[in-house]
């Protein structure tokens, strides 16, 4: 159905002057997920040209980080992808830990995995909610998603003191141990989560309107996905079995048994991207169950000073964030501040294929394709 009309030629008929309708969708548009703009040219309702415009939320994150100590930019990483502050923290901590060579205690590693997987649940569940909202459902799935998200955010708050800007990870471990009873509450939540997922799947996964709206829309071929550097669920939806949790096995992911859902790469459309995330949530629950069963007692942070001067080195720390590969690239020059600090934002890099996916579709498709990419403008613009 979708034939990507990369070079669209306007149908010129004799004696009939036609022109395209140009629309600037955003930065204030209900479904651009923040201050994002798409300059769209429409032929009727068909998108023939699309130009993503961003930078409205640029906060100079990388340059700021080069002018403050390593620890001080930790709270700023929260604000990159403000849905997933825990995983952002982890990626940055991983990079910095390579500089200073510190042993992360066992309990901290377990808690890191627990936090990261809870974050993945938060991200995927809200993404699906927003995605269906973009499809036009009046916020019902979004509200169910938010209910579950609230429960997880409550846990985050109890552990770290903040719901979204957790700022919980530290080089060599975590800032503080979780309070008493926290693990039990988490176990309870994790036990209940599959029931919610069942209900969610019953609501969404067989709905004919959702099926026909999402299938065959925004196809992303395996080749394009790899060439564009797309990562995360989007890449797996295009048929590449690539998950850093398996590939890198950072942290202690090699201790857990879990599966990575991916497609055969025939379609790689919005439906695949949506379903891969639904399936990944089940796997996250499996990881959480194992981690919560095995977590030992012990220290929470290794020996590391607050302000340190690493030896000159170049390091790259990356994790499988909920949105894709989130990497931090640091160059240390022997002072307390990094010489170069660079974020590899999955949102931005996944966004680069937007135009290729949208052309030839309807304007309504462009909206859901953007929704299925799963961007957060805090991370795109930095």
């Amino acid at each position: 159905m979708i034939t990507a009309a990369l070079n669209y030629e306007l149908l010129q008929q004799e004696g009939l002057e036609t022109s395209l309708l140009e629309i600037s969708m955003g930065p204030h548009h209900p479904s651009t997920h923040g201050v994002f703009r798409m300059d769209v040219k429409l032929d009727g309702e068909t998108v023939v040209e699309l130009r993503p415009v961003f930078g409205y939320l640029h906060r100079n994150h990388e340059k700021l980080a080069e002018n403050m100590t390593y620890l001080s930019s930790m709270p700023f990483t929260d604000r990159l992808d403000y849905f997933n502050s825990m995983t952002n923290n982890w990626a940055y901590a991983l990079a910095a830990e390579k500089l200073i060579e510190v042993e992360v205690p066992e309990r901290a590693e377990y808690l890191r995995v627990i936090m990261a997987e809870l974050t993945r649940l938060v991200n995927h569940v809200t993404l699906v909610g927003f995605f269906i909202n973009d499809l036009g459902a009046l916020g019902t799935p979004l509200m169910y998603a938010f209910r579950e998200r609230e429960k997880i955010l409550d846990l985050f708050e109890q552990a770290s003191g903040a719901r979204m800007m957790c700022n919980y990870f530290r080089f060599g471990g975590l800032r503080n141990d979780v309070p008493e009873g926290w693990l039990d509450r988490t176990r309870e939540l994790v036990d209940r989560f599959p029931a919610f997922l069942d209900e969610y799947e019953q609501l969404l996964c067989e709905n004919e309107i959702i099926l026909s709206r999402t299938q065959g829309v925004g196809n992303l071929s395996r080749e394009l996905a790899i060439n564009a550097g797309v990562t995360g669920p989007m890449l797996r939806a295009s048929g590449v079995n690539y998950d850093l949790r398996k590939v890198d096995a950072y942290g202690i992911y090699d201790r857990f048994k879990f599966r990575v859902p991916y497609t055969d790469g025939d379609t790689g459309d919005c439906y695949d991207r949506f379903m891969i995330r639904m399936l990944e949530m089940r796997e996250s629950v499996a990881i959480l169950k194992q981690a919560l069963a095995d977590i030992p007692e012990g220290d929470i942070i290794g020996k590391v000073s607050k302000v340190f001067k690493p030896k000159p080195a170049e390091v790259y720390g990356r994790i499988e964030g909920p949105k894709g590969e989130l990497g931090f690239y640091l160059i240390a020059d022997g002072t307390t501040k990094p010489y170069r600090y660079r974020v590899r934002p999955p949102s931005l890099i996944n966004l680069t294929v937007l135009r290729d996916m949208c052309l030839g579709g309807k304007i309504a498709d462009a909206v859901i394709i953007l929704g299925s990419i799963d961007i957060v403008l805090g991370e795109v613009d930095r």
Binding site: L135, L203, R213, N241, V260, Y262, Y271
Partner: protein, 452 residues
């Protein structure tokens, strides 16, 4: 101008002008509350009596909304067509209010004041209904065009395309009922359904009702057909640039149109004001009517809380490739089954009636003794009498009583009835399935791979 005329006009119109806008207020509350509960929220619960802490389940919300709307600034974009920008909401409201007049609502004050109780006893009420409800399209187009906003324009274009397309299945599904009753008069259609002879209980009526309801959703821009005001795509569609009281008028017009079209669905398929206890309290008919309207609106709200939106091309394909052929086929089927069933039952009922009269009326000779009473004869005769009164439900009740007692002819009637009923349902389903297979994309759930 005589006093009588003025009184009649007032009697006919004032209730509509009072009742439906207040029902609108109630419906907005109901919708907000129901949607909130569907989404596991609480909904308005604090807005009750002002200056007190009495919440009244948020029933004051519509009033608060109304006050807010009135006092909001009315913004007209620069470069907009000011006249049309003003006229569009009014034009949206007027046809919606006008078509209420064609509903066979009989208000109970015929008792107190003599006079007409139905606004328009038009012979061609149903066709008028469709004619005037089509005017809403113009209003929406007007709004979309006058706002000088690309989103509004897109919304307006979508609205026109959608409403023009869905008017056809809407009309064609109504044709079935008109065909059966033999009249376009709403009152006659309502009368034909008294005693639970609702057309929705017939297979073609059921199919027509479903088609009508779906098309009505599209006509009133309700989810999942709310493309003209698709928030996630084109902001608010044709009323992107509307604020304040003009927006409220659009809102009102939309809801009144919802009432009107549900009212027509109730009139055509759900027996209008028919319901239980009507013999003892005829005034209940208004209550039943409005209750049925609310039933339909509740379903609309429920759908709105559940379904996402269709895409433009799918919307069009659904109207032209699915609903339209199905409704045409339904007309044919209705004619056919009705003819077959009617002929059969008429012949058998005649025979039943004849069998009790025959000995006495036939050429005076041989048969002077009473005919042997067949088991269930009496019930069968009652059924036949009900049938000649066109009371299908009553006839079927009596026939089935007779059949239980072993009356052969009644059994055959029932067999025919149910046979044709089931046959038509199956045929309709097969037809729908076939159309579906032709028109739908190959959307179905998929299997996914897992890497260990």
């Amino acid at each position: 101008m005589s006093f009588e005329l003025i009184k009649d006009i007032l009697l006919a119109t004032v209730p509509l002008l009072v009742i439906f806008p207040s029902l609108f207020a109630f419906t907005t509350w109901m919708e907000r509350k129901a949607l909130a509960r569907i989404q596991n929220r609480i909904g308005p619960n604090k807005t009750g009596i002002p200056c007190t802490r009495i919440g009244l389940f948020g029933l004051g919300q519509p009033a608060a909304d109304g006050i807010k709307m009135i006092f909001k600034e009315d913004i007209v974009p620069r470069g907009a067509d000011k006249l049309f920008h003003l006229l569009a909401p009014i034009l949206a409201l007027i046809p919606a209010m006008l078509i209420l007049c064609f509903l066979p609502l009989e208000f109970p004050w015929g008792k107190f004041i003599s006079g007409k109780v139905q606004a328009f006893m038009l012979d061609s009420a149903v066709i008028f209904f469709f004619a005037i409800s089509g005017l809403a399209t113009l209003a929406i187009f007007m709004a979309g065009w006058a706002s000088r906003n690309k989103y509004s324009l897109l919304g307006g274009m979508r609205a026109v395309a959608q409403m023009v397309s869905y008017e056809i299945p809407l009309l064609l599904s109504a044709v079935v009922v008109v065909m059966m009753v033999g009249s376009l008069n709403a009152k006659e259609i309502a009368d034909a359904q008294t005693g639970f002879n609702w057309f929705v209980f017939t297979p073609w009526g059921l199919a027509a009702f479903v088609i009508f309801f779906i098309a009505a959703l599209a006509e009133t821009n309700r989810s999942p057909f709310d493309l003209p005001e698709a928030e996630s795509e084109i902001i608010a569609g044709y009323f992107t640039e509307y604020s304040g009281f003009k927006f409220a008028l659009f809102f009102l017009g939309e809801y009144i149109a919802m009432f009107a079209i549900s009212g027509l669905a109730v009139t055509l398929f759900l027996g209008a004001g028919d319901g239980p206890f009507l013999t003892s309290a005829p005034w209940l008919s208004v209550v039943w009517f409005i209750a049925k309207i609310f039933g339909l609106i509740a379903v609309m709200i429920w759908l709105r809380g559940t379904l996402p939106r269709l895409r433009v091309d799918q919307l069009m394909a659904f109207a032209w490739k699915f609903l339209l052929p199905l409704s045409i086929f339904n007309i044919l089927l209705a004619g056919l089954t009705h003819f077959a069933l009617d002929a059969r039952v008429a012949a058998t009922s005649d025979a039943i009636l004849y069998s009790i009269h025959a000995p006495h009326t036939h050429s005076g000779e041989a048969n002077h003794e009473h005919p042997k009473p067949v088991a269930g004869q009496k019930e069968a005769v009652m059924g036949a009498l009900h049938y000649t009164d066109k009371n299908w439900m009553g006839a079927m009740k009596w026939f089935s009583k007779a059949a239980l007692k072993g009356h052969a002819q009644s059994r055959s009637i029932l067999g025919w009835g149910f046979g044709i009923w089931a046959m038509s349902l199956i045929v309709l389903y097969v037809m729908a399935k076939g159309l579906d297979n032709v028109s739908r994309s190959t959307a179905k759930p998929r299997e996914y791979l897992y890497a260990e």
